[in-house]
């Protein structure tokens, strides 16, 4: 009944695993070092992680080269799929991680970074995300997803605060539910198509002329819920603010970028073929989801009193904005997604890093959260450079040209316009106006209010050279993004187009 599996080593194409394996290897190396000699300084692990991420990036660039020459590479029992979007997403993942990891080198000692396991887990997580995006196979996606998520829960908890445990538990529980939904959704798809590979499923459904449309929709409902959680789509977004608030600012920034791009890529693979096949249900659902996510989270962000929570809601909103790409489904839109996210990652990491810089060890009396707006009051007078940087990131997030995110927004709205989604384009544009309010609020506090003495010595308390470098880098990219947009766009479009999206 079952055929013996018979594959040649060449067709296995183990090389496709290289990027992930590098990350895993890095994690193992860290664990080994720790085993050999404990109590080493965190800077060592930071550098090792960076090194392996660099290697990872190198291999990805190699793959990019291959992709441009030979097109998509498939390997390892046909479960690995190194197409353009996989490569792009992995590059964003790795670069985002590389920006994040130096944030561990703070001047204050934070518990979590003293564990070598932290860095190992971090690298495992990256491998997980890489698996997730570089596959067409629902099983591997699930494995990647869970690898990454489990590592992430732990990383959050390692921050070792009351709030971070709470955040981890919440995130974990909801994640478990999402995993269940994902599994059930996959099951339904498997039941109607007999395959766990997305393009297979698509082919079967198309040949079948979607006769089982009802079941497809049910399956997609589960999948949407699962990825809605991952991408923090309203109403599956509830975890986001709490988890961001609970985790360290640096990790929160990271969470707003890397896991989401992984989620987006899977969502692209999973939903776009249906959008292209003209499944109205999905179009309608996505339309609603995009609009509601963007708008509602913006509205909630308006009323936040903590900057980190505000940024959490803002990240939700940005995710909703980018979700539109999946609804629109054109090459332009999908390229826009990557462009947006690439630019977003710098800006957002920059702004979270700014929060990280202002991290206090102990809260002041009466201070209910880590980063209330009041903390930044009058910052222009006490820390002018810091205030200018932060303002820069806020303006970029608000979509003020010529800062990084504007170009992403421009291209995304352009994509909406050229696909006839006029109303959507307008809603996207107007949401930027709502969003501008809460970004401005921070600027108002920083530039237009008087400093509150109690907070004075918390500025730059946590600053170190590597943090400043990261922020500086993010700022430079944010300001001069205008020069990067064209090359980025060309590359992205090429990759996306050649992957068939």
């Amino acid at each position: 009944m079952l055929e013996p599996i018979n594959v040649s080593l060449a067709s296995l194409n183990i090389a496709t695993l290289a990027p992930m394996l590098i990350a895993v290897l890095g994690a193992l190396v860290i664990l080994t070092i720790d085993l050999a000699k404990g109590g080493l300084h965190k800077s060592l692990y930071v550098m090792i992680s960076l090194l392996f991420l660099l290697l990872d990036l190198g291999s990805l660039i190699g793959f990019a080269d291959v992709f441009l020459k030979n097109g998509t590479v498939i390997g390892f029992f046909n479960v690995m799929l190194m197409d353009g979007i996989a490569i792009l997403a992995q590059i964003i993942i790795v670069v985002g991680s590389m920006l994040f990891i130096p944030l561990a080198l703070t001047s204050k000692r934070f518990h979590e970074y003293d564990y070598p396991e932290y860095f190992a887990l971090f690298l495992f997580m990256i491998a997980g995300f890489q698996f997730m995006v570089a596959s067409d196979n629902l099983i591997l996606i699930f494995v990647g997803l869970e690898t990454a998520s489990l590592a992430l829960y732990t990383l959050i908890a390692l921050h070792n605060r009351h709030k971070s445990f709470e955040a981890a538990v919440k995130y974990f529980t909801l994640g478990a539910l999402a995993a269940g939904l994902y599994a059930f959704g996959s099951m339904i798809l498997y039941a109607i198509s007999g395959s766990v590979e997305i393009n297979q499923i698509a082919t079967v459904l198309a040949e079948d002329h979607y006769s089982n449309i009802g079941y497809v929709l049910l399956g997609m409902a589960f999948m949407l819920s699962a990825f809605g959680f991952k991408l923090s789509i309203v109403p599956f977004h509830m975890w986001a603010p709490d988890v961001y608030e609970g985790s360290s600012a640096a990790l929160a920034g990271y969470m707003s970028i890397v896991p989401k791009i992984a989620g987006f890529v899977v969502a692209m693979r999973l939903f776009e073929f249906l959008v292209h096949s003209g499944v109205v249900w999905l179009q309608v659902i996505l339309y609603i989801v995009v609009v509601v996510t963007m708008t509602a989270s913006n509205i909630w962000a308006l009323v936040q009193t903590d900057v980190k929570r505000m940024l959490a809601y803002s990240s939700i909103s940005h995710a909703g904005f980018v979700m539109a790409a999946i609804l629109i489904g054109t090459t332009q839109a999908n390229s826009g997604l990557f462009l947006y996210w690439a630019l977003f990652s710098f800006t957002n990491l920059g702004s979270f890093a700014m929060l990280w810089v202002n991290r206090q060890k102990n809260l002041l009396p009466g201070q209910s959260s880590d980063h209330p707006y009041e903390k930044f009051s009058g910052m222009i007078k006490t820390m002018p450079m810091g205030a200018v940087m932060m303002a820069l990131f806020m303006l970029s997030l608000a979509g003020i040209p010529p800062f990084a995110l504007f170009w992403g927004k421009l291209y995304m709205i352009g994509a909406a316009v050229s696909s006839g989604y006029t109303v959507l384009a307008l809603i996207m544009a107007l949401n930027s106006a709502i969003a501008a309010y809460f970004y401005l609020k921070l600027i108002v506090f920083m530039f237009m209010k008087e400093p509150i003495p109690a907070y004075q010595n918390s500025y730059f308390m946590n600053a170190s050279l590597s943090l400043k470098t990261t922020i500086g880098l993010a700022a430079v990219v944010t300001i001069f993004a205008i020069f990067a947009v064209n090359p980025l766009l060309e590359v992205i479009t090429l990759f996306v187009y050649n992957s068939g999206y």
């Binding site: 538990v169 919440k170 529980t173 909801l174 539910l177 999402a178 939904l181 449309i213 009802g214 929709l217 049910l218 997609m220 409902a221 589960f222 949407l224 819920s225 809605g228 959680f229 109403p235 599956f236 509830m238 975890w239 603010p241 709490d242 109205v280 249900w281 309608v284 659902i285 509602a296 509205i299 909630w300 962000a301 308006l302 009323v303 709502i434 309010y437």
Partner: protein, 628 residues
């Protein structure tokens, strides 16, 4: 000759700027001397130009481009022709006199320098007005005199009434200026130019209704500047300004600009006799209307102002009936004797420490002989007694009315002539005759400076002899204006009319003397006459200022406040804020969806799933229904 033109035009400006340099500094007599000298220079240049123009030439220069865009081309062009040279002479003579006079009159005023700056600026504007060769240039002068009039009426800016009157004058004039502007637009879009020569050559080719509209709008402009009903109220209030200003601006020159405009635009008005008739009728009405208000007024300057208004009515009658040269002639003659009258009134005011009520004067002829003589003669001229200037110009207008068969107008004007004589001599009688009522108020009047009287003397001479220029003048201006002669056909009628009018006027004078020459008390509003309806009506200026106040000013202010507080803040702005607030409040009210409770989060996730599933089912049913 161009040089003289520029000298005539710009020397007042130079004077004005010179005085302006000292504007904020304490009094320096030099400003008065310099400006007067420059004015005299201007007068001399004008005289030279007059001589030149009498030789049958005209001077036309284009100094530079002002505005040029699209097809529009407006230069700073100036023309000295038979009409403008007459105006130039009038303006420069009167203003020179007034300047010199003012050196004395404003002697003790803190704003001496400022006064001369404004006054010379006014003369410059007036020169621009009369010399311009196009409507836009005219408009420059038009608004310029308005500005200077504003500055001079409100010269004593500490006085609330003065600044109020200044603003009123400016705003009223603006209303009319809008009409004028529209007239200019109409001309431009129909003819493509606003140069006089082009416009007057082309205007005949336009459809009659367009010409009519042009005529009407231009006349609206004229109505404002010449204070014709219903835009007349500002003129009486403008008497708040220093008296030389009243003499120069609100009697001799600026207010006649409207007449000048109609005269200048005679090729247009010739084509639209209906509008002309309207102008004439309005003029006649205003003549009577203003004269009636002058009858009871107790403010010396206002009486003269109403008289000015009334005389402007005369001029418009002439202009409206096509007798442009007559209008211009009356304008000229009137400028002389009315300026004289005002300056005389200024002397009286000085003597009386700014007391204006003639009932509080009386018997001043004893202390102010010179002024007495001048004012009496000016009043005689105003009344139109032979052989004074007024006779030649005013009677001519009556004749025009008669000859053109507008008997109603004629009658009205005749009646007005009587009234004019009455109120003029009522004033003279009250001021100079009768008991020395001023003593009740502890005033010790004195005659004005000698040189002021000397300065006034040219006007006196002109007020007496101006009539003798009539034929020279006629020959001069009819080069440009229609040369219709207005002769009553039968000799007998002519004589009856003339002598009749003279007798009528003299009777009025006699009546005024009889009634007022021996006046011995200051009315306190209790006499029977003062309580009569007619008296009250006239005393309150037909309640028109009150009417304007109640119907326009106050409601406008109220409306403005409503516009601001109710509409702008409570509707327009509130709407914007409401949108913002609704968005913000939505956030406040819904943020508790995220209540931090894990169970809630889980439920929301399941809820989301259920909704999606429900939609999936619903759509599937829908698909199947469509499929089936």
């Amino acid at each position: 000759m161009e040089l003289y033109l520029y000298i005539a035009l710009f020397s007042p400006l130079v004077g004005s700027l010179f005085a302006a340099i000292f504007g904020a500094s304490p009094k320096t007599s030099i400003t008065g001397y310099v400006t007067s000298a420059l004015l005299f220079t201007s007068f001399v240049s004008s005289a030279i130009l007059l001589n030149y123009v009498m030789g049958g030439h005209t001077v036309h220069v284009e100094m530079m481009t002002w505005m040029a865009t699209g097809d529009l081309y407006i230069p700073f062009g100036f023309v000295v022709d038979q009409v403008s040279v007459v105006m130039m002479m009038v303006v420069t003579i009167v203003s020179t006199v007034v300047h010199v006079y003012s050196i004395g009159y404003m002697d003790h005023d803190k704003g001496f320098n400022r006064f001369f700056s404004w006054l010379s600026a006014f003369v410059f504007s007036m020169m621009v007005l009369v010399m311009s060769d196009n409507f836009a240039g005219l408009f420059i002068g038009w608004e310029g005199v308005g500005l200077c009039s504003w500055g001079l009426i409100g010269f004593w800016y500490q006085k609330d009434s003065a600044t109020w009157a200044a603003n009123e004058a400016f705003i009223m004039n603006r209303i009319a200026d809008l009409g004028m502007l529209i007239g200019i637009f109409l001309i431009y879009w129909n003819i493509g130019s606003i140069q006089y020569d082009v416009v007057f050559a082309e205007v005949g080719k336009l459809p009659i209704d367009v010409i009519t509209w042009i005529g009407i709008f231009l006349f609206i402009g004229a109505m404002g500047k010449s204070a014709q009903f219903p835009l007349h109220t500002w003129l009486a209030d403008a008497m708040e300004g220093p008296t030389p200003v009243s003499a120069l601006i609100h009697a001799a020159t600026m207010v006649t600009a409207g007449v000048y405009l109609v005269v200048r635009s005679n090729p247009i008005y010739d084509l639209i006799p209906n509008v002309g008739l309207f102008i004439a009728s309005l003029g006649a009405f205003v003549a009577l209307f203003a004269a009636s208000m002058a009858l009871v007024n107790r403010d010396m300057k206002r009486i003269i102002a109403y008289s000015t208004l009334s005389q402007l009515g005369y001029m418009f009658v002439a202009a409206g009936l096509g007798a442009y040269w007559v209008a211009l002639f009356h304008l000229m003659a009137h400028a002389f004797f009315k300026a004289l009258l005002f300056l005389g009134a200024g002397n009286v005011m000085h003597a009386m420490h700014d007391e204006l009520d003639p009932f509080k004067m009386g018997g001043l002829r004893k202390v102010m002989k010179g002024t007495f003589i001048m004012m009496t003669l000016a009043s005689v001229a105003l009344a139109g007694i032979y052989p004074f200037a007024g006779f030649f110009s005013k009677d001519l207008i009556l004749e025009v009315g008669f000859v053109e068969h507008h008997y109603v107008i004629y009658t009205v004007l005749l009646l007005t002539a009587g009234l004019t004589a009455f109120y003029s001599f009522r004033l003279v009688a009250l001021i100079f005759h009768g008991e020395d009522r001023y003593k009740l108020f502890g005033i010790h009047p004195h005659e004005a400076y000698k040189f002021m009287l000397v300065a006034m003397s040219p006007l006196l001479v002109l007020a007496i002899i101006a009539g003798s220029f009539k034929m020279t003048y006629y020959q001069l201006v009819t080069n440009l204006l229609p040369s219709t002669q207005y002769h009553v056909h039968s000799e007998a009628t002519y004589w009856i009319m003339t002598i009749g009018t003279q007798l009528f006027v003299m009777l009025a004078i006699a009546f005024a003397y009889k009634k007022y020459a021996n006046w011995n008390s200051v009315p306190d509003g209790s006499s029977a006459m003062e309580n009569r309806f007619c008296y009250k009506l006239l005393w309150n200026q037909y309640y028109i200022p009150k009417f304007y106040e109640e119907v326009f000013s106050k409601p406008y202010l109220e409306l403005s406040k409503i516009a601001w507080k109710q509409i702008d803040l409570k509707i327009v702005d509130a709407m914007v804020d409401t949108i913002a607030n609704v968005i913000y409040k939505t956030g406040e009210n819904t943020r508790d969806i995220q209540d931090g409770n894990l169970s809630t989060m889980l439920r929301w996730m399941v809820f989301g799933l259920v909704v999606l599933l429900a939609l999936a089912v619903a759509f599937t049913v829908g698909y199947n229904a469509v499929g089936a």
